[in-house]
């Protein structure tokens, strides 16, 4: 079982994702964005960074890369696809996830630990977690503010596709605990099949105690297990 990590010009978290998934025993290979065949893989991660400099709009140019045609094709077949930060933005631009990510409400870049509460396990990112569980993981973005129209948000909620929300350390979802202004404190969502997931904070940055938190492991492990299942 192998997991691909897509690398766009300007990506910068690909090695970090490789390292963290490696800690969980996954076999990972970096795939340049010009590749268009992921048939050897059981899952793909779109890592964080600044694909194409985040110029024009985050993710806008990256979604036309050849690898994204393959990702879109595989998405329909239930293939596990995880977008982290910039990867989440690319998935939204590619219409594989609803909504969009715009500038943080205070117009500052935010690199900081945040708390998120697990809202639903109906996605390959949270299937091994427990609803209500509070995780401490780093956020690192300028355009991390999730927006969508009210109907889309309602539908996401109703179908259990809001996977994580920003909260305080005790798990209360409040406006103060919302670091970037995201609609309804949303930090991670899934597509209707649950196999395409996008998360704004970085679980790979919280996979070792020596770096301050291991809370991201349950999310990465969920994804690896989904990949294992998919490979069967």
């Amino acid at each position: 079982m192998k997991i691909a990590v897509a690398v766009f010009p300007g990506s910068n978290c690909e090695h970090d994702v490789e390292h963290a998934l490696g800690l969980l025993g996954a076999d990972v290979e970096l795939m340049w964005h010009q590749e268009d065949d992921l048939s050897e893989f059981s899952a793909v991660v779109l890592p964080g960074g600044f694909a194409h400099g985040d110029y024009l709009r985050t993710g806008a140019i990256a979604r036309f890369s050849p690898i994204m045609d393959e990702v879109s094709r595989l998405a329909e077949g239930g293939f596990p696809i995880l977008g982290i930060c910039n990867g989440f933005q690319i998935l939204c631009e590619a219409d594989l996830l609803p909504g969009a990510l715009v500038a943080n409400r205070d117009l500052n870049f935010i690199c900081s630990m945040v708390h998120v509460r697990v809202e639903s396990t109906a996605g390959v990112l949270t299937r091994d977690a427990e609803v209500g569980q509070v995780l401490r993981i780093p956020l690192n973005s300028y355009e991390g503010n999730f927006v969508a129209d009210a109907a889309t948000l309602d539908e996401l909620e109703a179908s259990g596709r809001v996977l994580l929300r920003y909260c305080d350390p005790a798990g209360n979802v409040t406006d103060e605990a919302n670091p970037n202004g995201s609609a309804r404190n949303i930090a991670a969502i899934a597509d209707p099949g649950g196999n395409v997931v996008g998360i704004m904070p970085h679980p790979e940055r919280a996979a070792e105690d020596v770096l301050g938190s291991s809370d991201g492991r349950v999310l990465l492990a969920s994804f690896v297990h989904a990949a294992e299942e998919a490979s069967r």
């Binding site: 140019i61 715009v102 927006v147 202004g181």
Partner: protein, 83 residues
């Protein structure tokens, strides 16, 4: 070779969706003493230059560029104007 044809593309955030740049700028202007400012809306102004003589065809192409790349239909509206 002929002069390039130029179009101005204006991309604006859809009404009702968050516009943090607009909101922050409104506040900043009011703090600076421009208390008469009631709202600020942020958008992009993109000038596209193209080679070719068929202006109508070029304009259609620019529309297509907006739909495919320059604007995100989920959150943005756009207009195209010949310069």
């Amino acid at each position: 070779m002929s002069e390039p044809v130029r179009f101005r593309v204006r991309v604006m955030r859809k009404a009702g969706l968050a516009d943090p740049e607009g909101a922050t700028t409104t506040k900043a202007l009011r703090d600076l003493g421009y208390t008469e400012v009631t709202a600020v809306h942020f958008g992009r102004d993109i000038v596209v230059e193209l080679a070719g003589d068929d202006v109508a065809a070029a304009e259609a192409r620019v529309h297509e560029m907006c739909e495919r790349l320059l604007a995100n239909p989920v959150i943005e509206d756009f207009t195209v104007e010949r310069l």
